[in-house]
Amino acid sequence: MAGKGGVGKTTVTAAMSVAAARAGMSVLIVEVEGKSGLAACFGHPPLAYAEAELRPGVRARTLTPDDALVEYLEDHGLRRISRRLASSGALEVVATAVPGMKDILVLGKVKQLERGGVADLILIDAPAAGHAVSFLLSAQGLLDAVRVGPIRKQAADVVELLTDPARCQVMLVTLPEETPVTELVETAFQIEDRAGLALGPVVVNGCVPSIAGLDTATVTLPDPHTNGTDGDATAATLAAAARFRLDLERRQQEQCDRLAHALPLPQIRLPFLFTADIGPAEIDTLADALAGGIDALDPVAQP
């Protein structure tokens, strides 16, 4: 799951996990950046390296480069120095010397989880913005930079995983707004052309839902109650609010159309939620919309 900051990527990841769990799949969500609201979406305290069950069928864990490195070294018989390497700050130096190494350690661990069959579906809440592309390109870059050694083998395995559409796909998340759509299109081409990953449907988050009848309501209507007192509203206020929403819906539709034109991928639209902060109930609502969107996809297009 990838997308620029502020588009609701973590929320969509949570909704995706619920939709998959409802379809009978076991799901593991992997968090690769320290802080996120993922656990809060489920009303759960913050995640740790150890797995936690967020709701039946949905587990989650974090995966930091330091932890992945320690585990990697231990797996390779280098237990004695593993802690020291991580704690001395030497990892920082090595990671700077080999850009993408941190990403490779994390993705290598994901590959290990996938090969170990820990879940039917592993969702990675990918790093935000431009880092998502470098995150996915890291393995290829490392293959070019490091000519020998176990890290190279690791990178080769990761490339194999990432570029196999039967094992891995990228779901891009965006908002129906100009800049996020423009950047999403750029990211999509980079991921497909440069990193060689397959793209799944695009999730357009935050689409203001239509209200039946509102589009006929821009004319001021007579109603004896609309006198603007006791928490009520005047006809003029109602009309102004209606115009605001219709205008917003129209602009969002324009952006969805522009996205469809620039990127021939199916779109799944998720509703903007007016009423509350994101919690378990809201995630359920979004999971419904996501499942509906997936059902509506052309079956031929699905793997």
Binding site: G6, E92, E177, E183, D223, R251
Partner: protein
């Protein structure tokens, strides 16, 4: 984390003039816009610089990765390490700005900025070229996390030192953690100070101490994992860099001193969305920990309020108008036909939605505003179009001041 409720006070409490964004633009030489990604930080920085220029100041805006169309407006088709002037006729079409103002812009090229810094602090050309050609150095300058934040501040310091500008507005990268931005210079020096690599560099001086032997073994192990070439590169870098740390450290400290001085003001940019407010709160706390006060809060994309309307009353009205009988929608308001009842109920529902949203946004912002204390606050409404031309930037500036 410290309680920043009382901590925002540094300068404001010291009796500086009661800040408004307009007065900040008139009196300060440095304005740093910070906040999380996607909240309109770059746009805000550009609008502030334009306003400064229109008020007669010689302003420059340092942008970081602006959206394409905004970059085009500012004449920034590519990275540029020097500020270029924007023709007055573009930002003062109607000739209403104060005379004497000028507007410059640049798009940060972090890598070149770093190279310039190395050239400046190297003892001679040979040292500079050994560093600039080193693979490990290129990674630090090109992709080390925190480098962009560090170089944004370095560029700010450099522009300030030239004395050519009396208002420097700096955008900051959309990194998740304020930590990256405040700690960037320290992060680099920590990297340079890394104990193990220092030990490795100075075996002759350190003699055959246990530490060195252990470090050598340690190094061999790392080399087994990533290859010896990589390690050779790192060691060559540390050797080449020797003697330059002090210059870097001194400059970094001067930079932090400038940011903490009365010449500088921090503007926190956010949107009223929950996640953005959480990030903004974190920024405010981190700035307070560094004794840097937030002096203005800019909230972009605020939804309109409709005074007097109450969502529960509005929804009840909608329910009165419509009786849902299975799939069938009928009307109870006898003087309205079915279509009119449906339309009116839709209007009530819509207003209730929008008002609930506005109330939620107000609640989010109230907590943030209380936390950062008395600062200038500007709300910019949700605009009909993305902001990327001078007219739109001026409209934003109008809301800011």
């Amino acid at each position: 984390m410290t309680d920043a409720g009382a901590g925002g006070g540094g300068r404001a409490a010291a009796g500086a003039e009661s800040a408004s964004i307009a007065s900040i633009l008139r009196t300060r030489r440095v304005v740093v816009c910070c906040g999380t990604g996607g909240v309109g930080k770059t746009t805000t920085a550009a609008a502030l610089a334009i306003q400064g220029a229109r008020d007669g100041r010689h302003a420059v805006v340092v942008t970081i990765d602006p959206a394409k169309r905004l970059a085009q407006t500012l004449g920034l088709e590519q990275l540029s390490n020097t500020a270029h002037e924007i023709d007055r006729t573009l930002w003062d079409v109607d000739d209403t700005a104060v005379a004497g103002g000028r507007l410059h812009a640049l798009m940060l090229d972090a890598e070149s900025t770093f190279d310039d810094l190395v050239r400046q602090y190297a003892h001679d050309e040979d040292q500079a070229s050994r560093i600039l050609g080193n693979g490990f150095y290129r990674n630090i300058a090109g992709s080390l996390s925190g480098t962009q934040e560090y170089m944004a501040m370095e560029k700010l310091y450099e522009l300030h030192a030239t004395g050519s500008f009396d208002l420097i507005v700096v955008d900051t990268p959309p990194t998740r953690h304020a930590l990256d931005f405040l700690d960037a210079p320290r992060r680099l020096t920590r990297l340079l100070d890394n104990r193990i690599f220092r030990l490795l560099m100075t075996p002759a001086r350190a003699g055959f101490r246990v530490g060195t032997v252990a470090a050598q073994a340690f190094l061999r192990t790392i080399a087994r994992v990533v290859g010896t070439e990589v390690i050779d590169d790192v060691l060559a870098f540390f050797r080449a860099f020797e003697g330059m740390e002090e210059g870097f450290r001194t400059r970094a400290n001067e930079m932090l001193a400038l940011l903490g001085s009365d010449e500088s003001a921090f503007v926190l940019v956010t949107s009223p969305r929950h996640d953005a407010v959480v990030e903004a709160t974190y920024f405010a706390d981190r700035l307070a920990e560094g004794s840097l006060a937030v002096e203005a809060l800019v909230v972009n994309r605020v939804h309109p309020r409709y005074p007097g309307a109450r969502p529960d009353v509005l929804r009840a009205r909608a329910d009165q108008l419509l009786v849902v009988d299975g799939e069938d929608v009928g009307e109870v308001a006898s003087n309205l036909d079915r279509g009119a009842a449906l339309a009116l109920a839709a209007q009530y529902e819509n207003l209730a939605d929008l008002e609930e949203l506005a109330i939620r946004e107000e609640r989010e912002l109230r907590g943030l505003e209380q936390r950062i204390g008395t600062v200038a606050v500007a709300h910019v409404p949700e605009l009909a179009h993305d902001v990327h031309d001078f007219d739109a930037l001026r409209a934003v500036a109008h809301h800011l001041v």
